[in-house]
Amino acid sequence: MGDDAQSDRFSRRTFLRRAAIAGGAALASTLLPSCGSSASTAGGTTPASSTSGSAATGSAASAAPAATVTTGSATSAAAAATSTETGAAAAAGGEVVNFLWTDTNNTRQPLIADFTKATGIKVNQTQVQYNELLDKINTATQGGGSVDVIEMDTIWTAQFAAAGWVEDLSSRITDPIKKDVPESSLSAVTYQGKLYGMPWFNSAKHLFYNAKLLQAAGFDKPPTTLDEFTTQAKATTKAGQWGSIWSWKQSEGLICDWICLMFTQKGAQILDANGKAVFNTMGGTEALQWMVDLLYKHKAADTASLESTESDVQKALETGTYALTYNWEGVLPEANDPSKSKAAPNIKIALLPGGKDVKSASVNGSEGWAILKQARNKDAAWKLLEYMASPAWQKKAATDAGDYPILSSLYNDPDLQKNVQDFPLYGEQFKYLAVRPQVPGYAQKSDIIQRHLHEALLQKASPKDAMDAAAAEVNKANAAP
């Protein structure tokens, strides 16, 4: 018995000794350079698999992107998971530019092919849905993914520039280029007087309407003021048919519509010169009230608007049972294509309604391309931007992809006027654009306003209370954690 106890004690001691050795060895090996570097770049990884480009099949009703991001408990914030779709090393001999954008329909692939043919520079692309783009850009810049050029929405310019992620291109964008590009396009990529990207296309919301439904209700012209809109929408709402549908899901689309409606009032403003919220007293509340009335008092807007995005609105228009919609460009060729749309060929475009003293009010949704500071071959990346801003790309993109050129001269081009339905009307709308505030931290402010707008639209708060609460919260958000 004593012998057993002795041998047990002996083996326990030995076990502890061995365990210490093994544990020490394991610990020491983590300090080896090879192991250390792999841990430090990604900060360790949670099982966070972002599937790029694997968007929802077809288009889910809520157009929800299909990125799986499993946030673990304590490891989620520390792990900016490196994007796994980074382009391969440069092909032998040729230069390569890694490009992150939203051309998920592949309509602009021939243009990229033309660029490669013209310059010999290969472009490795990652294509994602718009709602995923910001996350992907954040990951690429934080996790050190190898992305060189990114698509940059106007609402991100301030944030990216302030954070130092994007190159200042003011010296590269020379006067000859700037002369043909209107102020509104350049403002989308400008922050504190410097240019941080190349404008890609002009974009705004337009009025797309079903002329047949309006005529059947006795209107041969679309509305030019919000009151006329209400009248026409009410008249065209009946069983199986709605006067209007909107993209009022709690998302950026809701802000865009609200701004279009808000700026029908002359002198409307969202933030003052010091970044303080003034939208609740300068047009925002009236716009929200109009939206709420349209839904519940006049019952002229489909309540499904509250969960619809712009692509849902386009699909709805194409069923032929909706009369009036606000949407971005790109609706038209498809909406009047009989093989894709039941509403063909009755869909027309017009200027968005305005108000007293305001002819029309729309929102600038323009985007640009930016070169990341971390890009390895900035000259090759610049060549891509330069090619994109040239008439070769701009003109072809107008006919192939429905992109609206940044070059003013192209609006007088006879070929484009012939091939694109109502081409001059688009150019006309680009003169009446409101710009969303170019401030860093816009994403958070926009989220705050979206949530309060949505509360009022769901009748959980009065428009005035919602807007006042939103303004108070936006002002508090200026003191970030």
Partner: protein
């Protein structure tokens, strides 16, 4: 080696070579796993805790990264939005796990019976679990579409609804529908666990209860449930931890935390703060607070389980 280590040998007479090889071999075999765990779990845990003690705002790098100690934690606890998200998460967790437990128990008891097609039924039951959460979300999004979704069509035809309902625009219904979608997918998991737990319960106990004149319900209540208790607690504990961290189905079905933030669960709040607004230090603090909540739940479950372990 032809003699096990436990055989009584006088001290000192054991051959050191043999003892060294078996113990050390075992530890060396554990070393790779220990290394992987250290890198993948240990390092991020320490790193994120360290990060949570600083104010790190990646969108404003010119502000630097000052040390704020527990400032981020206190800031979180002072935000009404944080508590609102916790409340939505608790609602989701209780709803989801509760419903799963009831349905899981029902299915397990049913599948435990002998009937023709039992095997087919078990296989069919597993299908929802095999779906990816994201696919599940997209599936439900299509079904719930107000204009061309199957749910509205069915309910309209049955006369339950008078007009098409926009489910995902309703602050009450959105969360409940998400609970339904989540339960549909995870009930198989619960069912399997409970079914496995039912196997060891001997038939003689039921027969004895019948002899004593117990009804089906009484048999269930007095025999099945008490013996199933440890399995139920384990299953509920696992599911609670999973439900507390829910994110992907909410992301797919609502994109942004739902109509007027009504589905903004704590993981989503964390995601917004860390990845949208780039407040990394604050985001790290929130993840640690979530971890603390779950540790609390685990401790509660362990306390509840202890009588069963000891017995």
């Amino acid at each position: 080696m032809d003699r096990p280590l436990s055989s009584p040998l006088p001290p000192g007479k054991r051959s050191p070579g043999a003892e060294f090889s078996e113990l050390t071999l075992g530890l060396l075999m554990l070393a790779p796993t220990a290394l992987v765990l250290l890198l993948v779990v240990g390092y991020p845990l320490v790193s994120s805790f360290w990060l949570s003690l600083f104010r790190v705002n990646l969108a404003n790098p010119e502000q630097g990264q000052p040390f704020v100690g527990l400032g981020n934690y206190l800031h979180a606890l002072a935000q009404p939005d944080f508590w609102y998200s916790i409340q939505r998460t608790v609602y989701f967790t209780i709803g989801s796990v509760g419903l799963e437990l009831v349905l899981g128990l029902l299915f397990a008891v049913l599948l435990n019976e002998r009937f023709r097609g039992n095997l087919g039924a078990r296989v069919a039951m597993i299908f929802p679990w095999a779906l990816l959460t994201v696919s599940n979300g997209v599936l439900w999004a299509w079904m719930l579409n107000p204009t061309y979704g199957v749910i509205n069509t069915l309910l309209l035809r049955l006369g339950v609804l008078g007009a098409p309902k926009a489910w995902l625009s309703d602050t009450f219904w959105t969360m409940n529908v998400i609970i339904l979608a989540d339960v549909w997918k995870t009930v198989p998991n619960m069912t399997l666990l409970l079914l496995a737990g039912l196997q060891p319960i001997p038939h003689e106990l039921y027969e004895a209860a019948e002899v004593d004149g117990a009804s089906r319900w009484q048999k269930f209540q007095q025999v099945t449930v008490p013996l199933l208790r440890p399995v139920i607690l384990v299953a509920v504990a696992l599911r609670t931890i999973g439900a507390f961290r829910v994110f992907d189905i909410i992301y797919v079905l609502t994109g942004n935390g739902g109509p007027a933030n009504s589905t903004k669960v704590i993981s989503f709040y964390n995601y917004d703060q860390a990845f949208h607004y780039l407040y990394f230090g604050y985001g790290a603090a929130i993840s640690w607070l979530i971890t603390a909540c779950m540790l609390l739940l685990i401790i509660i479950y362990l306390r509840l389980l202890r009588p069963d372990i000891e017995s």
